[in-house]
Symmetry: C2
Subunit: 208 residues, 2 copies
């Protein structure tokens, strides 16, 4: 009760909760967190503000960080053989994003990670993540759950991609995330759905 009041008071005064506490709140949805853990997180995790279109990762450079979106929206994309951008993932509030292959193995990234909107992020570099995993058993459990869910979502997305036409994929995406379709530029959404902006335009018109 008191806690809720405090939160709403903060919200009304437009005083942001410290970014790190947004993460802690999210962690607590999955695992128990000790006070001492919070201190450790606070000590090691960096917070950063990026403006729209700013890049966090460029291709052929190492991708050493794992990003947690406190506020805003990021996307991961690459340039296909024809030179067009292809979005493979979006990340909004409370999502993690990184090029996992590069992050794990320390090699160069094949992707770009870019802010779609002005965003507030937490950055967790590989050594720090490894250290936290070792020191805090709850973190190991937390990331196990996060990756399991991410993988389940990827399985589901793969299924939708195989099952439906471009038109149906858009409609089903819109049904699942009605607000999000207007939050990002059309050409990004189109490449995420696996169709061209032109065709998405035609589909939208058909279902206006």
């Amino acid at each position: 009760m008191l806690r809720d009041d405090l939160d709403s008071l903060r919200a009304k005064r437009n005083i942001y909760m410290e970014p790190i506490h947004r993460l802690v709140k999210h962690l607590e949805r999955f695992v128990p967190i000790q006070e001492s853990d919070v201190a450790l997180l606070q000590k090691h995790i960096g917070s950063v503000r990026v403006s729209k279109k700013e890049h966090l990762v460029e291709p052929l450079q190492p991708c050493t960080d794992h990003y947690f979106v406190v506020e805003g929206c990021l996307r991961m994309y690459f340039f296909n053989e024809k030179g067009d951008e292809q979005t493979v993932q979006f990340a909004i509030e409370n999502w993690w994003i990184t090029d996992h292959a590069a992050f794990m193995q320390g090699g160069d990234s094949l992707f770009c990670i870019q802010a779609v909107e002005q965003s507030t992020l937490l950055t967790l570099n590989r050594q720090v993540q490894e250290e936290l995993l070792q020191k805090i058993p709850s973190m190991e459990r937390y990331f196990r759950i996060i990756y399991q869910r991410a993988y389940a979502a990827a399985q589901y997305r793969m299924r939708v991609r195989q099952d439906y036409s471009g038109e149906d994929i858009y409609l089903s995406f819109k049904k699942s995330y009605p607000d999000f379709v207007d939050r990002v530029p059309q050409y990004m959404l189109a490449s995420y759905l696996g169709i061209t902006p032109e065709y998405l335009s035609a589909v939208k018109k058909r279902h206006a």
Copy 2:
């Protein structure tokens, strides 16, 4: 040295290593495993032999188990709107497979899981997995790593799907897994690659 000799002796005599030890060997590639842990695994994990085409999971039934392939090959698939089978994943030796969404949430599965070949499996049901995760910290770490890798692979696969034509997807898959393309029926592989068996046939002919 002694250990290796013993292994090769077993192999020569065609005495299979106990399935559970195949798992332990795999676990040890990622995390340290105690003798006491092995006993716990042995006590809780079941082993089962399935024949070709046998189903482990049917759609609209709960999917309570996580399967580890000791020997053989499984696949996960579903029936699309037209009634055709669509393969979403294969699992060969040392791979885990399950419908993660159903496994996690306890709901009904949207997929079938079926043996492509006669196979030896370990089965880990949800309660047991949860118990092992709680009791053995190494298991929490192990599955975190496994899921992270699986997710990275899914990201990569998604990228390939967006970037390349059906023809190129087949060629790149064949390059990555030259033996596997002939290990499964063509129609399964075709649906996994996202093309029709007829078109795969044409592609293969073109590159004969």
